[in-house]
């Protein structure tokens, strides 16, 4: 068949399809159903773990410069080391530290869960739900332990 015939056949079979500048057709997908009623939407425990994994990753990235600053103070001189010890006594420092430890613990546990699933451990639904619960609760437990130590 000549190329012109193919082109004609394509355009005739999909009359509303658009084409790229090089002539290739773009198939526009049918609109997907969207359901965003927050009072009725189902969030399985694994979805919660997944969302929290993302959020805690961003929190860790934003919090890391503060950790670096603390590390710098702790190493630069005996004076700056004492300065950091003084800062560590303040309430805002403790609250930030506990929040950071929650983020780190959750991210670490959820990440460990992914690594185990990658090698075939716990990827069936019941196990996956259990480990999702474990990651969510484990992060909070670690934060509570940290709170017990620093507060």
């Amino acid at each position: 068949m000549a190329p012109e015939v193919i082109k004609a056949a394509r355009t005739s079979s999909k009359p509303e399809s658009r084409t790229l500048s090089n002539g290739h057709p773009i198939r526009s997908p049918a609109p997907r159903p969207v359901f965003l009623n927050l009072t009725q939407i189902q969030i399985p425990v694994g979805a919660l773990t997944s969302i929290a994994h993302r959020v805690t990753g961003i929190v860790l990235a934003l919090g890391f410069p503060f950790c670096l600053y603390a590390l710098q103070l702790s190493l630069a001189s005996a004076k700056s080391y004492e300065q950091l010890r003084g800062m560590a006594g303040s309430e805002w420092f403790k609250v930030a530290l506990i929040a950071f430890i929650w983020a780190l613990s959750h991210h670490l546990l959820a990440g460990l869960r992914h690594l185990l699933m990658d090698i075939g451990i716990g990827s069936h639904l019941a196990d996956a739900r259990r480990s999702a619960w474990a990651a969510n609760v484990g992060g909070v437990v670690m934060a509570a332990l940290a709170a017990g130590v620093v507060l």
Partner: protein, 112 residues
Amino acid sequence: MNRSLGGLTPWLIQRLSAVLMLAFIGFVLAHFLVDPPASYEGWRSWAGEPGVGIAACLFSVALLAHAWVGLRDVTLDYVKPLATRITVLTLIALALLGTGLWIFRILWLGRA
């Protein structure tokens, strides 16, 4: 699918760096539980040990790579317009590069 945006490489980087960071965090945590540094001198001399320095360097490289893949994935998911996307990715890359230089400076300070 654009090969430079997806595929095995970022997936593998994310997992290898995660394992490396887990090992380092375990090592530091164990040290702090068994033999917590009691003073500035003790802390500094531990941080200045060559083994600790090398491990910290490896950890830092893993962390920067891990942060890049993670923040990149989040950006690709939520920032669709190309110009904004490139801007955001550039800012993230610059921030991570600056963080890398800062880490290098601190680790050097710790060894001096």
